[in-house]
Symmetry: C3
Subunit: 341 residues, 3 copies
């Protein structure tokens, strides 16, 4: 009897199954210090207890992507171990902030399966939910991956979930108590409020960061993400370690401070594509496009829908003439953040 | 008068002397976050306060090897500065868990000396004890090293301590309150209990990690281990920095989660050899052999004795025909861990 | 309207203006753990709560340079973004220790401007003050930088501040309660007290550390210092990332433990020069010269004025025959520290 986890294959997913992911994780301020050492994160709500209190919160929560990465990491042994590709995200919502001392657990429900025509792999859709120690939902999102088949068995009845193209404004959950009416723009770093942004506006975040192997491995390990390709230089024929896509998300989000310092809290993930692989030595830059704007019921709090694009070269076209992502594009993310009106 | 510490030479050790090591160290959750970023550590008892509470502990302790490394680091200026080789460990026991906020101090008693026949060096045995701020023993272990002689003086009367080949089951200290009767195997990550392991069974931990210079230096510094060879690329003729052997221990132990997720708490170190040096760029893998199993008086708690082997290549023979370790073997460690029966 | 911060040019500084720097920052024990992983920091007062209590403090403060780096980092977007060179420091004083949980904010008052004769740049002097959440001053120091002009406008009336060549002993602020009368030299790591050091004495700190890209970037990011040159390998023609000068300060200060283990608290920065740039791969060493000694009103507490020099080669002359720093000299820092008498 083998004791090690060989991972699930396409045949091992059945519609409606709820997978409980292993290894709950208590997150405290040490993880925050590391997050701020790994990414140039400067959004003031996540940097200062006093700033957060000025926004109606008890103190500063962990960066929202810490919740995402930790939950994602827990799903890897059950969802991604035999995955060929991470295909997409949808209907992601942050429901409760992550406070220092919280313990995260995660489950995933299988909501879609579709065998590929080659008979050798298939697509699996899961809705993953992260919860704190009180059983409250921290985050919920749909992810779909392409997974290898173990054998030559018959294809299951295909089930393709009907996913929203974006989270609607009414479905955004505003953290309890959030109030931007006394927001301090000077301490936040930029004067721009929601009204200063126009739909369609492009913001070049200017700065670039050249990634080192040690950094992306420290980050990926911190989320207890164990996918071989990120750590083992002998795993690929080219001797390269593939950088966890979430590392690029956090890096691009942090870079977006320069121009979007007031896009404080991430509340929804509408979609996202890891357009091209990222490797150590790449210099990552980012730009954002304002996709939508909205008001919310919370005092002084607006919502801004942003496309966040990370590239490894200078700014250029997002897609080539063939409609495919330009080879320099690493990430194309669509999310909602909260900003003072 | 020189102000810097030149380290002790073989002549400076006399049987019975107790050396108080410098720089006490308070350890909190920041060190835990770093430990989990540096190693793929996932044992649930050390990841989640709630999981630890389900096992009868007040909350999650620091990983047991944090205690070992911190104590070891304190001994370096007094024991290893002029050491030629780290020869072995014995009779290591973890007596009290390390809780966040504890302050570690360490002392070492010289229990053996034996000059080498070349007259230029000798072997020194010390029994090192780490204590918390309450004076409770955290850990105790014997280590022996080969140390240079300063001069040509006469050899001391040799004293070779009589060391146990392994800590007996009766000598294992079970942390107060530990109870595995309601152990959650799903959250722990694997279903295997003590009864599922057979003596002689080999478990390949599958995953590999390629080590970077920045990582092993961050780790080694965190333990305030100041040995030059780990940090100064000009120290060796080949321009390489030797990786602290403890870094390989922690890496291999963390990799062993895959197949030994329920070998939760390390309670004894029976012996260990750093078989070959490890350098940045090496891809480390690990396998374990079950050496022994035992029951303990604590409810639901068994003990498993494991050989943990780290290699830098694919799995192969532990030793060559000459009886020496295969050049790819980095570590051969013998320890006891606690596991649900 | 561009949303990103293009930084200030020489014309944007007017005498008397007080700039409020953005992004307040709460610092806890996670930052301390990272500091101790990034630098071989071992001064006992900053390592152990119990040791600090033995010196009359409530518990262990953050390393003094954490205050300096965090405040410095906040000034970068407003002071250094278009700076050509960091020219000097003066009148630096640590007024209140930084305790875990404190939130740092920073302001800078423009106290000097002088256009260069080329008409293309000028020198700006600012007095920067870091404060905690209670409004108490943590640190205050003067820094001057050379900044590019935006245009061809007329030169302002030059104002050159009259700066002290060193902070006087009477101006040193001793942390409340500090008492070295029961100082434990054994646990601190060295027996040398103030009386054991002679003015003019040189202490070679022996150890060297070879710097990695990942390390200096983690450190610099931790202080939320966003200067491009530290992170973006495409920024300079030679493809090198310039290491933040403060990284060298912290590294040299940590290395100085070996010979100056009892120079515990930094209380003043008299001056400093980043003599030559530092890059990854450099092996940094340090030596100190005792410049002055003094008594203080606090029980058992003396002050020692030290020149701390960091080099990237073996020890050699500080300056060449032309009076310029030797190319191997990285740092020449002049500071006061507190030491048991």
């Amino acid at each position: 009897m083998t004791k090690t986890n060989a991972g699930r294959f396409f045949e091992d997913y059945s519609i409606g199954e709820v997978i409980t992911h292993a290894v709950p994780r208590t997150i405290k301020m040490g993880e925050r210090a590391l997050y701020h050492a790994l990414y140039p994160a400067r959004h003031a709500l996540y940097s200062s207890d006093q700033f957060a209190q000025g926004c109606g919160l008890p103190f500063s929560p962990l960066d929202d992507l810490v919740t995402f990465h930790t939950v994602f990491g827990k799903t890897v042994p059950d969802v991604s171990l035999n995955a060929v590709a991470n295909l997409g995200y949808a209907e992601g919502r942050w429901i409760t902030p992550l406070w220092p001392g919280d313990t995260i657990t995660a489950t995933s429900e299988v909501i879609g399966v579709k065998e590929n025509s080659n008979g050798k792999s298939g697509v699996v859709w899961v809705r993953t939910t992260g919860r704190n120690q009180h059983g409250e939902t921290l985050i919920s999102y749909v992810r779909w991956v392409m997974v290898r088949k173990r054998g030559d068995g018959p294809a299951p009845v295909p089930v393709i979930p009907d996913l929203a193209s974006a989270v609607t404004v009414d479905d955004l959950v505003i953290p309890k108590g959030l109030d931007f009416t006394r927001y301090d723009f000077t301490l936040a770093g930029e004067p721009h409020r929601l009204g200063d942004y126009a739909i369609g506006e492009i913001i070049d975040h200017v700065d670039g960061v050249t990634i080192e192997e040690a950094e992306h491995m420290l980050a990926t390990r911190l989320w207890q993400n164990t996918a071989k390709v990120h750590f083992d230089a002998t795993n690929r024929a080219d001797g390269k370690r593939l950088i966890y896509g979430g590392h690029v998300i956090s890096l691009a989000r942090a870079l977006s401070f320069n121009g979007l310092a007031n896009a404080q809290m991430i509340v929804a993930l509408n979609g996202g594509a890891h357009a091209n692989p990222c490797f150590a030595g790449d210099t990552v830059r980012a730009w954002s496009e304002v996709l939508d704007k909205a008001e919310t019921p919370a005092p002084g709090v607006g919502a801004i829908r942003l496309r966040l694009v990370a590239t490894k070269g200078r700014a250029g076209p997002l897609r080539g003439e063939d409609g495919k992502y330009h080879p320099d594009v690493l990430l194309d993310l669509d999310y909602w953040a909260l900003m003072p009106v």
